[in-house]
Symmetry: D2
Subunit: 292 residues, 4 copies
């Protein structure tokens, strides 16, 4: 019989001796991204475009993120695309625009790094490094990320088990960097009506197994703009420590992921709903006044 | 581009001409189970043991369901088990105990029917018929259920697409019975750390496609007692119209599914949390005073 | 370390005490379908249309089955279809046509039974009962099949594990009928370019675990006519005891599964190829002369 | 209706304008690995240990590969392991041992490259570069591989669709290197009794869509030594152009994948069986006499 009385719930995997393993109910890492604390009682909302496309696009979108309560700006300068002929990102030019957006809005920025050779460059421009789903098992990249002093946003591979996800984080921690945030972003199943199947079971499971913060990406987890708000709220109710969502000042013009990017007004409405929901599950939301 | 301005969100499947298809945002079926309305603004909580095991077990558990705010009693008299040597249910004796529990507590009862030949007998004792996951594509059984006047609780097959799930419901509606409640209960994926992967994406997707009520089973959707509360809350935040959960007066003695059955005190605590959560997402909860 | 020296290969599941369990390398059940032996050294080829559609269609197709070396005729009179508005089969009229085709060609017939109430009728007209994928976990149906004296063709559920598949067979054997042939017909995965993913790993795995014969359905396992021959040969090389394939005298007019149905000339060519392949893997093919 | 009369079979995806697309039935790339031709009528067998562990281990194993008819030697010097605490490979020392084994046996060698920074080093020691499953969507690595003049062995990601697999190859071809061999090695499904589910449907599907050679890895595709021979034969019957298999002179001492590594005598027996099977499906086998 599973025990509800013990300190930690019983699960199927054994992480004895691993750095990622939670040792007690109160054992919780707080990841600090330029003063924004992830993993505490207050929820963190990260938002921004899929890809950095232009100065106007990024700055306009960043202003909406800031205005409506997002606390970290996301945006890709290096984009992993299925086809070599799709837009691959603005690369260093995109990183510079992220830095600019940070200067104007004060929001820390998170952006993806895909290649060990880009690590220094990406570190120079960003506050947090994202390791994307397709690279969750790119072990040389994980090791390099573990050697930096940047907080890491590690996304679950679309076919990764919970155990493999945690061991990917272990690669980072074992190099000395314990500032890792785990992100559930949907897994691949037989169901193709959504882009991915958002696995919210992963939220309580990960929270029980590890002391690392856990956030959710309902944009990739659904692939449909109109579903994002529903699943963002579900993620918070399941116990997530925050959200990362795609928002674009003009989704119909987006170079990638337009269908799953929120309009600024969608984001505004969702933030209002989250401000009602969070206290009902015993949480607050990180406000920019608390940080800047 | 997907449109957020239109009346109904855009999805990938076409249900034109189907009876299950939602025609407008206000098109919503209310299923009536002996006065309990499913599909309206108020959430419905169904609870009870996996299987009916004995008079004491069922009555004791039913009293807890009633005491803490469950409004329909569940319990299996015919059990679909992977092994022919596992407990297969008390059959008609179990149905009689359900009737007895209903008489004592006033709670309507829902129980599974597995065979077209049992249909009349199960109808004679229960207020709502459950078609289980393994029988979601048992088309003769669906047709027979469609010929009864009982409300039907149709569970999603563990490998069924959203489209197949809706077409299974169409089998029932096409026979003249539109009192169908859909239940997401987890799908089978590569991840085995949970019993199933609860697919909460299905909740907003189904709600957008059909006028039928949608509820969630976080017990089968997780397989772990300690996860049930987290996912019950997530289901409600995602927009579900209710929950069906396994609760047992003594889970450690249960003949099946003990690991995923709530203790009465777990159920009590969860109901308290749901009473806080529901209004934060614009919902109420059906109370027994409103029904009896 | 896994052992190659022991009598039976090591696997992950334990079937101790189960009737389906293979006890030694030489422990092999031969299923007899009106004189056609399945499970011996000679391969058995079952062919025919997805559904019985008309006298002409069935008789013409049956003549081709016989002419080119098929030894059992398949054809559905009761069809499990995703939509209630699709062709559901000719029912008893279809069974009568199967009987007629048997009288003319001498081929034994196998047809699907979907409902416990149809069992007697289907037994009256057919030589072998098929339990389809959607009913692999329809336990009342399995039990009824176990009470008959007919050989049973049990197809793997599209989401069934090997263990669940074997336990479904156990339901039949536990009722006293050990004349069961297992059929791998493709599982549901994330890959949708084929109708199903044919799991040929299942062939050696099942053969190692159970004494029951194992055949393969490359028609449903691929969904594309042009792939059927490739996978039929692969199945035989993997160790299958036979094949069941869809063939139609005019696939472009078929009421169901036309895209995966072989033309008679495709079937002819494949049979010629199998006659070359079989001896190269130490097998023969059951010829009609040996049976009639 | 699908057409069997046209030059190329009909499939669900459109590769118009892509470099990987097959243009006619006779359009076939032959990949040349130091004189060994992959993609012609003769099958190519690649074998060797999972990881290079020591001089003795590699040389002894390589001698068996050569003796029994393998034509290319495999062996990992950089190993992608789920845990950071597992053996990660001998790195450059391993590459040197591969070079030594080549000098002694005359077999060309294929080994995995995991990091863009290692590309030059791995090229210096090996005849063919392997991109492993976990890196199939590591686009910077694919691009670097496309800039080399080495033939590439690209393994399918365990969750990659056929379309994604082909687009990964397109990344290599678009950089100017068309010497790419595709390798099916099993996908991840709900079935866990095997390490992966070998998807042999992929063989005819890939062969119909692309002019690149297609080989199969039955070691990773099953995870069980005793299954390897069965699935190797099935792969050939399905139309594969060759095989890559793990073989170890002492599997019980292997540092990784011992359970799926063939003993030398298993490999010998299998090669004998393949020499019988190949002509039965119209193929030959590349012999070392033809190459050296």
């Amino acid at each position: 019989m599973e025990n509800t009385k013990c300190d930690l719930p019983i699960t199927n995997i054994n992480l004895a001796g691993k750095l990622v393993a939670r040792k007690s109910l109160s054992h919780q890492t707080i990841v600090d991204v330029n003063g924004v604390k992830i993993g505490g009682n207050n929820l963190v909302v990260i938002a921004g475009p899929c890809a950095v496309e232009s100065k106007e696009q990024l700055l306009e979108t960043a202003r909406y993120v800031d205005k409506y309560g997002g606390i970290i700006l996301r945006g890709g300068a290096f984009k992993p695309r299925t086809s070599p002929y799709s837009f691959q990102g603005l690369e260093e030019e995109g990183l510079k625009l992220l830095k600019l957006a940070k200067l104007e809005t004060g929001l820390p920025v998170v952006t993806e790094v895909m290649d060990t050779r880009q690590m220094d460059m990406v570190c120079a421009y960003s506050d947090m490094l994202q390791i994307g789903s397709r690279n969750m098992s790119n072990f040389p990249l994980l090791k390099e990320a573990g050697k930096t002093e940047k907080p890491i946003l590690l996304k679950r591979g679309m076919n990764a088990t919970i155990e493999e996800f945690l061991m990917a984080a272990e690669y980072i921690l074992s190099e000395g960097n314990n500032q890792v945030v785990l992100c559930e972003r949907g897994i691949r199943t037989f169901e193709t009506i959504y882009r991915n199947t958002l696995d919210l079971n992963a939220v309580p499971m990960l929270k029980s197994l590890t002391h690392l913060p856990v956030i959710v990406d309902p944009s990739h987890g659904t692939g449909h703009r109109w579903m994002v708000g529903h699943m963002a709220k579900a993620a918070i109710a399941a116990g997530a420590d925050g959200l990362i969502m795609e928002m674009h000042y003009r989704p119909e013009e987006a170079l990638c992921d337009g269908n799953q990017s929120l309009y600024p007004e969608d984001f505004h409405k969702l933030m209002e709903e989250l401000r009602v929901l969070a206290p009902a599950v015993g949480r607050g939301i990180v406000h920019s006044e608390l940080v800047k």
